[in-house]
Symmetry: C2
Subunit: 245 residues, 2 copies
């Protein structure tokens, strides 16, 4: 029996998120189906991050046990000949028998892309959110700086009653413009439900001038979801990497 860790990239456009649903295709379901066929035993993966419908990943993580003889590093290549073009395993490796993708100390990085121009660009619209009005990325960076460090992020979280601990650490958060594309990159030790998308929704208010950068601190300290911005749309979000420490 071996425990295998897969690093998985996917375009989430066509999926109802990671987690198996009664209706609609999911990433988890595709992995289970093709792993089970490939290894000829029933496989149920354990995912690191249950990304929402429409969210993308370059490096989500799935773990499973197998007694199949196939060399572990070949599983990535064998899976990629079976998987659809919008899901590809980037790496397969053996891990310790007690490795759990969710209950370990990690460093996660997300990026959120905003196409900030009066006209949408169909070559980037699957992986970014279109924002018509001018955004000032320097104001957005100033507001983002208020979020760095260890805080209670209740203001930036869609409530889930079963997860009462809202304290997380943001190690780094940057807002960079390259032409018409603004990219927000956030690294931290974990993220609450919808946390990145609500942070981005609030940064959009700052960037568009409806909120001052300094007010970000007030919103954070209030621990009140109603003071933060809207949850930004899913298509702009990509889970870039999960580093196990």
């Amino acid at each position: 029996m071996k425990r295998v860790k897969l690093t998985v990239a996917y375009d989430g456009t066509a999926y109802h998120g990671w987690q198996i649903q009664p209706e609609g295709d999911t990433i988890e379901e595709e992995l289970n189906k093709h792993l089970s066929e490939l290894l000829r035993e029933e496989i149920h993966v354990l995912g690191a991050s249950r990304t929402d419908a429409g969210v993308h990943a370059l490096g989500n993580v799935a773990v499973f046990n197998t007694s199949a003889r196939m060399p572990v590093e070949k599983i990535a290549f064998a899976m990629n000949t079976r998987l659809p073009s919008d899901i590809k395993v980037q790496r397969s490796e053996q891990v310790a028998d007690d490795f759990h993708p969710r209950f370990c100390k990690v460093r996660k990085t997300y990026r959120y892309q905003i196409w900030n121009r009066a006209i949408p660009n169909p070559l980037v619209s699957r992986y970014s959110t279109f924002y018509y009005y001018d955004l000032d990325e320097k104001r957005m960076q100033k507001a983002a700086d208020c979020l760095k460090g260890r805080h209670d992020f209740s203001s930036f979280c869609t409530a889930k009653p079963d997860r009462p601990n809202h304290i997380r650490t943001i190690e780094a958060i940057s807002v960079e413009r390259s032409g018409d594309m603004i990219t927000v990159t956030i690294t931290g030790d974990g993220f609450l439900y919808n946390m990145v998308r609500i942070i981005v929704g609030t940064l959009l208010r700052v960037g568009g001038g409806q909120m001052e950068p300094e007010e970000m601190k007030t919103v954070l300290e209030a621990k009140d979801r109603s003071l933060a911005g809207d949850t930004a749309r899913p298509e702009g979000l990509t889970l870039v990497s999960i580093e196990y420490l």
Copy 2:
């Protein structure tokens, strides 16, 4: 009566190319349909470049006449509320009554993207070609340099009997790597049928070591299609811009 020039961007994945076909959706058809509905008169656009099935564009050009009163610069915005998300008009402007998108002196730029890694990346696979084996972009640039200038490009052309003139000028051609992505960018006064894709197919042979960079000159001078490489796949190709001189 006004003559209007549209600059059009599209993700070609779902289309059977630019030109109207008996079967399958085309870019030309989508533009004709939505322009006719918007302006309430029958519109048939004249395209600058008849891109093939699966090829993308950031700046293809379509021209038509209209007697509608709508201000010309508003047509782009009005069209974008009607067009599907994978086709968007970037700009609409009035041009001279005798302006023809194909019979003018132009500078066209194409780019071709190659994802050069052992594992495909689903977040770039719509807009690039996957190439498993290592490519040496410096060798590719050396070969590409042989093509600069005014030449008979018969070796890099799928024959069309009705277009006997195969002399074109390549102003610039660059091969650049950024991480796992190699981008070939070509600017010239016009391109023969499949010319960019055959040039890239030949550069792939050079980059992979099956052909020496200097042999590119021999292939060019032979004016023989059979000496060049395969026609590279369509999804890597994007028509970036058409500049009217």
